[in-house]
Every structure is written in C-alpha cells, then in structure tokens.
C-alpha cells in the first residue's frame, strides 16, 4: 500500500498533538496563564523603575514591599483591555513570594544601595526580565561584586545579611549557586564535600539534620521513616531497604559504619527476634563452617563489620575458642597484618595471646 497525503495527515496531526502535550508536561511550554511582567518593554519606553516601585529608593528594612498594584498600572494604562486584575496575568505569583521571603530573611536596605548604584536598579537586578522564580532577586554573586565579604565568608559570619539561617530551617528556600549547591547523588557525595567545611554546612543546617541519620539510636528520626509520605526524599534506607539490607552491606563493606556501630545490627535483630538466641534459624549459608574451615574465614575478611554486628563483644569467645594461640582454628591474621598493640595486654590481642601464651 502506498502512503498518500490522506494517510500522512492524521499521523502528522497525532504527532503534533503528542509533541505539544510533551512540551507542556516537560515544561518546555508553560501552561500557566500568567507570565513575567514585561520589565524590558517598560524600560524601553523610558519608564524608570521607581515610577512603579514607588518609594523603593528610600526604603529601609521594614515597611511596604514597594510592589506595584493595579492602581499603579491604571495610572498609565487608562483603558485596560478587560476588567480583570492587571497583575493576575501580567506577573507571576512567585515574585511576591520571593520578595516576601527576602524581606523576612534578609537584612537589606534599598536606600543605602540606590545611592551607590546611581539609581541604576539593573546593576543588581540583572536578571529581572528572566522568567524564573529566583530571577527578580539579585544573586549572592552580584552582592559579592561590590561587597567582597571575604572575611565574613571565612569566619562563617552570615548574620550581617542573613537572619538565622540555621534556625529558620533554610526558610529562604534559595540554594546557593556555587559549589555548595546540593546536586547529583548528594547522599553519597556529601561526606567528601562536608569534610573540609563542616562549619559551612552548619551555617544552614541544624544539628538535628545530622543526627537524623548519623549516630546511635537515630532510627525513629530517619527522614525516610518519619516522612513516609515524602516519597521523593532521597536516602539510603528508602522503600524495601529492610529486605535488601544484607546485600547492600555486602556490596559496599564498611559503608554502614559511617552511621552505625557494630552493636546496631544485634540491637535491631534482637528487637525483631532474628538474632542468635531468639531464633533457631542460622543466617549463614551451607558450607559456612566445616572441618576444613569453610567459607566463614574468607567472608569475615571481606566484611568483618557484619560479623562483629552479631558476634562482637562477648560473642567473640565463639571465635577465640578455635582461633586462640595453639587452637585448632589456626592463625586468623591476614597477609601483612601488623599492629602497634601489646599482644599480651591490649584488647583484643590478649583474648588469644594472653600472658603466658
């Protein structure tokens, strides 16, 4: 069958509808009826910023927000094209939210800046014509263009401009643009990033945010457990982690010790009645312990943390029974093992090597 225009047209129409739908869903074509205020058009007409943002040039830290109202528009546009609110369509609601957040969380006085900038608002509001939620406000990099604040950055002294960054739970909701932005696989990455600048993290994050994951007994505060309905929260323990936790630990030996101590395993297993003494089922596969040794030695070297999870503390006697000096289990030390400990007096050496061994 040969395809003619009658066949191609429906397909083209379907394709166009599909692409248009995708454009909306993907955000390529915004669906919102409102759109950013036409700042550029007004500036090109020679209208200065303060004609609409009346009084902003003398504004202090408090007072009105100096955002125009419909009455401001009607001052010039005396014949509006319909009777709806001008700013309902000719502005974005997020602009007011962003300005309100800035007023609440930033110490800033326009009157000090308009003079220094010779009334050139765009010198700071460089992206005011862009259609993005953060566009109306100058970026921190813009502030740093004049105010170096190098000492304040070094001393983590943010209070000059930001109000209670840590206490407000990052109420500003504005992530920095530079290297401290939390991007990519941040859960894995944050350890390396925070190592050198832990106190920088503390300028925004409170102690409880660290303690929610790190430390002993923090399970009730885990974000994945507490905010179970926030399904987009990242985290290592999301979804069916309990089912796969043994495999996760095996795939990255030692990772669990970043937050857990070796007693964490036995604490949880005892609560769930899957620890030795609470169940007759052995967690070890066949061939784990044989007369020739079996698999347990190899696996213990790969992931000693897992062994210590159940057999640590008093449970170590199970190992010492065979692996003590002169015992049938032989030397458990791996190739190249060395230690600065006193083998007769320090733990754990004395368990097998005790005085007289």
């Amino acid at each position: 069958m040969r395809l003619g225009p009658t066949h191609v047209l429906p397909f083209a129409l379907l394709l166009a509808i599909g692409l248009a739908a995708c454009a909306s869903v993907l955000g390529i074509r915004p669906t919102s009826p409102s759109h950013p205020f036409e700042h550029r058009a007004h500036v090109l007409k020679g209208i200065s910023c303060v004609e609409c943002h009346t009084g902003v040039q003398t504004a202090g830290e408090g007072g009105p927000l100096h955002l125009p109202t419909d009455a401001t528009c009607i001052g010039c546009h005396q014949k509006p094209h319909d009777d709806r609110s001008c700013l309902g369509c000719h502005s974005e609601p997020y602009v007011r939210q962003a300005v309100e957040l800035a007023r609440t969380n930033l110490r800033f006085t326009h009157s000090q800046h308009t003079l220094a900038a010779n009334g050139d608002c765009v010198r700071c509001h460089v992206e005011v014509t862009e259609a993005r939620p953060d566009a109306p406000l100058p970026k921190m990099a813009t502030c740093f263009g004049c105010h170096e604040h190098r000492d304040q950055w070094t001393l983590r002294d943010c209070d000059g401009c930001h109000v209670d960054l840590a206490g407000s739970g990052m109420a500003e909701g504005i992530l920095p643009d530079d290297h401290v932005v939390h991007d990519g696989d941040w859960i894995r990455e944050h350890g390396a990033r925070a190592a050198s600048e832990r106190d920088l993290c503390a300028t925004c994050h409170s102690e409880r945010q660290c303690a929610s994951c790190h430390g002993e007994g923090t399970v009730p505060a885990l974000p994945a457990r507490l905010a179970f309905d926030e399904v987009r929260l990242p985290g290592l323990h999301r979804a069916g982690f309990a089912a796969r936790h043994a495999d996760e630990a095996h795939a990255d030996p030692g990772l669990c010790t970043t937050c857990h101590t070796e007693s964490s395993c036995v604490d949880c297993h005892t609560r769930l009645a899957v620890a030795p003494g609470t169940t007759t089922r052995s967690p070890h596969p066949a061939g784990w312990l044989t007369t020739n040794g079996g698999e347990h030695g190899t696996q213990a070297r790969i992931d000693p943390v897992s062994c210590a999870g159940c057999h640590g503390g008093a449970g170590e006697q199970l190992c010492v029974g065979c692996h003590r000096v002169g015992g049938p289990g032989g030397n458990p030390h791996g190739p190249g093992f060395s230690s600065r400990k006193d083998e007769h007096h320090d733990l754990p050496c004395r368990s097998c090597h005790g005085v007289g061994s």
């Binding site: 993907l26 955000g27 390529i28 669906t31 408090g62 007072g63 009105p64 927000l65 070094t154 109000v163 206490g167 290297h179 991007d183 990519g184 390396a192 990033r193 190592a195 050198s196 409170s206 102690e207 660290c210 790190h214 430390g215 009730p220 505060a221 507490l226 179970f228 309905d229 926030e230 399904v231 979804a239 069916g240 309990a242 089912a243 796969r244 043994a246 095996h250 795939a251 990255d252 030692g254 010790t257 937050c259 070796e262 604490d267 609560r271 769930l272 596969p285 213990a300 790969i302 000693p304 943390v305 640590g312 190992c319 030390h333 791996g334 060395s338 230690s339 400990k341 733990l347 754990p348």
Partner: protein, 377 residues
C-alpha cells in the same frame, strides 16, 4: 505591610508516628530550637524521642548549646551532638567542640567527649578526643589535617590522622577529598574523593573511594585483626536537566571488593508535573553486581496534590536477586499515603505499606503521623 527581618527566638516541632508493625510504636519526636533575640550568639537545640510498644523507651538525640563569637572568630558547642570534621568519621558524643577562626583563613578545632550509648544505657570507660587545623589559600582551596583518638574499656580503640582538601578553582568545577590513616594497624582506613564540573543542563562528577572495613572497626574488636582487604570504587555520575521539568541522573561505578571485581549502576528520572513542583513522577532502575551481592531493582514514585492541603503519594519497588537461595525470587514493596497540611503548621499523614522479604513472605503495615510546628516570637 511585611515586618523587617528578624529571627524567631523559639521553634517547636512535634511529630507522632504510629506503625502497626513497629517495635517501638507509637513514637514521638520533639524538636526545640531557641535563640536569644537580644543575644543572637547563643543558640540551643534539642531533639528527643520516646516510643511505646512492649516497653516504653526513648532517647535524646541532640541537646546542644552553641555559643558564637559575634563576628565569627570562635564558636563553642557543648552537649550531645554529631561530631564530624575533616577525615574524622561522624560520631555522636556527649562532649564539647570548639573552633577558632582567623580572618586570613586559618582555623583550629578541638573536641572531646564520650561516645553516646543509646537509650540511657550504662557507660563503660571510653572517650574520643582530637582536633583539626585548616588553612584556606587562594582559588578557594582549603586544606586540613586532623587527628583523633578513641578509647574503649580503657584500651585504645582507634588512633588516626587524616588529611582533607576542598577546592573550587573555577566557577564551574570543584573537588573535595579526604583520607584517614590508621596508626594502630598502619594503613589507609578510608579515603574518598569527588570532582564535579557543571555546564548548562549537565553536571558531571567523578568519584572514588577506598575503605578498609577491618580498620573502620574499633581496634578493640576481635574482627579488626583479620587483616586488610579494602574495597575500592571508581565511578561517575551525570545529571542532565533534559527539559525544564525533567531531570535525569545516571551513575555507574566499578568496584573491587576484597579482590573480587564488580560494579553497580543506576538510572533515575524525575518528571515534575506542574510549575510549582509539588507533583512529580519518578522512576529508578538499579543493578548491583558484586560477588556475593547481585540483584536488579526498579522503583517508581508518584506525588500528586489533591487540593485543599491534601496530597497523595505512592512508591513501589521490586528487587530481584540473582541467587535467591531460598529468600524468595523477588522482594516487592509498596506504599500508598495520603497527607494533609494546614496553613498553621499542622500535618497529618496515613499510609499502608505491603511487602514481601526474605524474612516475611507477606507483610502489611499501617502508618500514621501527626505533626505540629510552632514558631514562638
């Protein structure tokens, strides 16, 4: 009229969570943060939880007082908190931490305390102490050297020195790394590095790590004497903002786990369904292939606002192990949740969770949460 900027002196948040299968259910958490309005250099923070169930239990997770020199030259924290700095691994302690900073970029940190024993358990004689010196130099480079010593039952349980570096030489690239060296059983205990570059819609990160589980255990543990079989990882992550509302993350890594080669990788896509970003769909595929741990997983999430403060969210996951070994051929898991948030700080959520795991052939759980946040001025 919007008032001028000011801090809220007192913040209180309470959460109560109940789970039908929880061992400490219902559980309550209280967070209290305070700052003196007239002396903003003093802050206090507390996070406590208590749980019911078969026996009443609870714990203090955070209880700190923080004093800051008004210009940032120094800071002192005391109480219960998570200590982490430089190459010193995070440890929750009852103790103190102090840092002194100089305008030319030098800083000195010192800390000491007793590692936390959960649930008010009795403490044996043990402590952790150490410090770090750091210097910032040009091009956003920060260098640090750290030392930590841990004691357990009177015996030395760990002694490490560490080095860390962070640099942001250009606006589009940055790197960070740290390494800790075990002085008791000489060798690298842990090393991590990350280097990232950004360009337009893309961010590319290279990462590497080495960790020696035998050295990460306390040196008082019998299992620390087995020798050094470190696991090493080298990988990359790419983030692509494919469209204004579509973000794609992909990561892959090669691993050497105690001499056995393997790897893992995942692909995650998140599509926001509206411009406010409060509705989205997510899909994640994951493959882990390390000798002894080989499985494939898929996870999907959805979050949809229903209006009037209500929100529906759902999450499903299925994991298929390559070698079930009697643990079940697949481990499905699913959750459906409905939550409501008021304008004055109330939050209520309820969910049903169902799963099949190596432990339970079939398990269902009902979850509920009530939260309230208060700012007292």
């Amino acid at each position: 009229m919007t008032p001028c900027a000011h801090a809220d002196p007192l913040r209180l948040r309470g959460d109560a969570v109940a789970a039908s299968q929880g061992t400490s259910s219902p559980t309550g958490l209280i967070v209290l943060q305070g700052e003196d309005a007239r002396k903003p250099w003093v802050e206090a923070e507390g996070l406590v939880w208590a749980g019911g169930g078969s026996s009443f239990t609870g714990d203090v997770l955070v209880l700190t007082v923080r004093f800051r020199e008004p210009h940032g030259y120094g800071e002192l924290r005391a109480g219960r908190f998570v200590l982490a700095t430089g190459a010193v691994r995070p440890v929750q302690i009852d103790g103190a931490y102090a840092i002194g900073r100089a305008p030319w970029g030098s800083s000195v940190e010192a800390f000491g305390g007793l590692p936390v024993v959960p649930r008010f358990a009795t403490r044996s004689y043990d402590w952790v102490a150490g410090g770090r010196v750091a210097q910032k130099i040009r091009l956003g480079i920060a260098l640090g050297l750290s030392y930590v010593q841990r004691r357990e039952y009177g015996d030395i349980a760990g002694e490490e020195i560490g080095a860390d570096v962070a640099a942001a030489p250009l606006s589009w690239c940055d790197l960070a790394a740290f390494a800790s060296y075990d002085l008791l059983n000489p060798g690298i205990a842990e090393a991590r590095a990350s280097a990232a570059a950004r360009s337009g819609a893309f961010r590319f990160e290279l990462f590497a790590s080495q960790q020696s589980p035998g050295r990460l255990l306390p040196a008082t543990s019998l299992f620390s004497v087995l020798g050094d079989l470190p696991s090493e990882t080298l990988g990359a992550t790419v983030r692509w903002r494919a469209a204004p509302r579509l973000e794609v993350l992909a990561s892959g890594a090669g691993q050497d786990v105690a001499g056995g080669a393997g790897g893992n990788g995942w692909l995650r896509g998140t599509l926001k369904l509206n411009e406010q970003g409060d509705a989205d769909l997510g899909l994640e595929l994951r493959r882990v292939a390390v000798p002894g741990a080989e499985w494939t997983g898929a996870r999907a999430t959805a979050m949809l606002p229903l209006g009037k403060g209500f929100r529906y969210s759902s999450e499903v996951e299925i994991v298929v192990p390559d070698y079930p070994d009697g643990r079940g051929v697949a481990w499905p898991w699913g959750l459906s949740a409905l939550a409501w948030r008021s304008r004055d700080g109330w939050e209520v959520g309820a969910a049903v969770e169902a799963s099949s795991s190596p432990l339970h052939r079939y398990e269902t759980d009902a979850l509920a949460r009530v939260s309230r946040a208060l700012d007292v001025r």
